[in-house]
Amino acid sequence: MSDPRHLQIAILTGMLIYGLGWRDFPGPGWIYLLYPLAALGFQWGFCRIFRLGFDGRSPLISSLSLGLLLHTASAFWAVTAAFVAVASKFLLRIDGRHVFNPTNLAIVITTLATEQVWVSPGQWGLGAFLAVAALLGGMMVLRRTRRGEVTWAFLAAWGMLVFGRALWLGDPAAIPWLQLQNVALLIFACFMISDPMTVPDHRVARIGFAVLVAVVGYVLQYHFYVDEGLFYALALCAPLVPWLNRRLPGTRYRWPRTVPSRR
């Protein structure tokens, strides 16, 4: 388990199996198999085109996250989402690295493009939420990547915004607490915004970036009533990262390598 991605793959697969078996995930079951198959296929194709060695781990993580978050009954849109995720890594690059988290960009583009895909934020319920929170918290501790503070900074900022709003409205604490019981939020915090390849290199920039995403997401969700606000917020803020990296340079993250790969 030297590579943190192995643990991520194990956790995401477990959550997906639980979701399909016990949480009434919508749509036909084969869609959830189509995501990883299509993503691996596209990764293989792009690796051929760019003459790179094939490494299936990162498309697997992207597609498992897609399966957990993005629901559809359409094979076309499932394949499109997988394509956007993988293609964005190879085609949308600045300073030699990709700009957008692949899963995030796929969710943003497909939800904007069609009503045939959707995100189900409330689907998990309290018990599953607590279990996932414990699992992901454990993962964050175990993983000990130097970039973990993005997750914590984001969750702290988001929690403060949601509780601050309740305080301002005079709502009981049960309401913000309910708003935080959201597995999609946890997946977002632990796998998307913290993607070490797309966060700023400098520690201060990373924390600022996390807070900015939380604020933009909050405005989108609570003032413009966009249910997918957080995902849009990350995609809107991601182009700032190359600029932040030039202003505040830091060490670039690299996956522990076994074969030459690219993510």
Partner: protein, 441 residues
């Protein structure tokens, strides 16, 4: 599998009341029990229909609903109760009947094989101003007198309502304050007795409001305040895109498709009530249940015919009014006819302030797959033919099936297994085998 005969029995339509909250104008001990609400949504365009069968004296009836925008006279309408009753019947959980064919016929033998493989005033105005309350508009629509209120602060609004004879439950101020800060206005309706007498009806008709808002939310918080215990809410949504679910609570499909003992036919209402109560309990009281999700063009089996275009229009399906007129809806049949651009979802929840602290935030999905709460009765074949299949049918398949049906009923409703076996004439259920008997086989 072929359907031989489909007979339905409906649930009695549950007792209804408003989702917002009633404010009793005299001490008549009213409480919200259940509500029927229809939300039609297309983009930001929304039509809300609320119905009740308020049991007290109509002069004591009042309702306060937060609305996101100012409402003009033409945005309010009174619908007929019949449309809602029709929608209710069309989407109700249903019981279907099948009859076993003669097992000696070839076609059925193949089915049997497959089955065995897989089991299954002025002064008043000044007072209002002093309290920071603005009566933005007053309308009389049908039998209702309606006020649109805005306010600068919740205490003033609550005081104004109390002074004007509305009985508000304790805790209303905080909730009203939260809505005001979110920029909501209040829609207050009570019964105009003269107009009510003129309508000739003995019950209050559903009120409808049409508005445009990015918020796809059903406010239920005020309703939880004056309720004694839990309330029922039936929410239908009509959209173009597909099923609707809640974004801030889990949405779960009720169990469906199980075979039940034949005697459930006479006790279907009890059965479903107990099934629903058990589902609520299993999900810790914190889930919203989908009872029906279907394209409005058809049904299979039909608990009632799909709604006609004019009924849908009355409910506020605005995009049908805009579409060029087409041929009338085809009669429902087993094969789906040309789909109509309306997808209905029936959600059912049992809630109180503890289990559902926040309003229902709704979320449209692109899911157009059909779902219904449907339960199956299978009448055994009682012919006298004799063939190896018939012997096996009588000695093996049938007893197994009866036991499975009893098991299903027990699991779904929690009714005691011994009682079910008695009612089915099966004799006592087998005592559960001690665990150690299977330990060292």
């Amino acid at each position: 599998m072929r359907v031989w005969l489909v007979i339905l029995s409906f649930l009695p339509l549950a007792a209804q009341a408003f989702c917002g909250f009633y404010v009793a104008r005299a001490d008549t001990g009213l409480y919200n029990r259940s509500s029927r609400v229809v939300l039609v949504r297309d983009g930001e365009r929304t039509v809300l229909t609320m119905a009740n069968d308020f049991q007290g004296d109509v002069k004591d009836f009042a309702i306060v609903i937060p609305v996101p925008t100012f409402i003009e006279r033409e945005q309010i309408h009174v619908a007929s109760t019949a449309v809602l009753d029709h929608l209710d019947a069309y989407t109700a959980p249903r019981l279907v009947e099948y009859f076993d064919p003669n097992p000696c016929r070839r076609l059925y033998r193949m089915e049997m094989k497959a089955m065995s493989a897989a089991a299954p005033g002025e002064g008043a105005a000044a007072r209002a101003k002093a309290l920071g309350v603005t009566v933005e508009a007053r309308y009389t629509v049908g039998e209702y007198d309606i006020l649109i209120l805005s306010a600068t602060e919740s205490a003033g609004l609550v005081t104004w309502l109390r002074e004007n004879g509305y009985r508000l439950p304790a805790g209303a101020e905080a909730v009203v304050g939260s809505y005001l800060k979110q920029g909501m206005r209040f829609f207050v309706a009570r019964v105009n007795l003269d107009e009510f007498a003129r309508t000739g009806f003995r019950y209050l008709r559903p009120l409808q409001v049409a508005y445009e808002t990015p918020k796809f939310v059903l406010p239920i918080r005020l309703g939880t305040l004056n309720a004694q215990g839990q309330q029922e809410l039936f929410l239908w949504t009509l959209t173009r895109t597909g099923r609707v679910e809640t974004a801030n609570y889990p949405t779960v499909k009720v169990p469906s498709g199980q075979e039940l003992p034949l005697y459930v036919k006479d006790r279907f209402a009890d059965f479903y009530r107990d099934l629903f109560a058990r589902q609520v309990e299993e999900h810790g009281g914190r889930a919203v249940f989908t009872e029906y999700a279907w394209n409005m063009a058809w049904c299979d089996p039909c608990a009632a015919q799909p709604l006609s275009r004019s009924e849908l229009r009355e409910l506020g399906v605005m995009w049908l009014a805009e579409a060029p007129p087409v041929r009338p809806l085809p009669k429902p049949r087993i094969a789906p006819p040309r789909p109509v651009d309306v997808f209905v979802t029936r959600l059912h929840l049992r809630y109180d302030a503890r289990t559902f602290p926040d309003d229902l935030r709704l979320h449209r999905t692109g899911d157009k797959s059909n779902f219904q709460a449907r339960y199956v009765l299978r009448h055994p074949w009682d012919g006298s033919d004799d063939c190896p299949e018939a012997k096996r049918y009588r000695s093996e398949i049938l007893p197994q099936r009866l036991r499975r049906q009893a098991e299903n009923l027990h699991r779904l409703t929690g009714w005691p297994l011994a009682e079910i076996h008695r009612a089915m004439g099966l004799g006592e259920p087998p005592a559960p085998e001690p665990w150690w008997k299977r330990l060292w086989p």
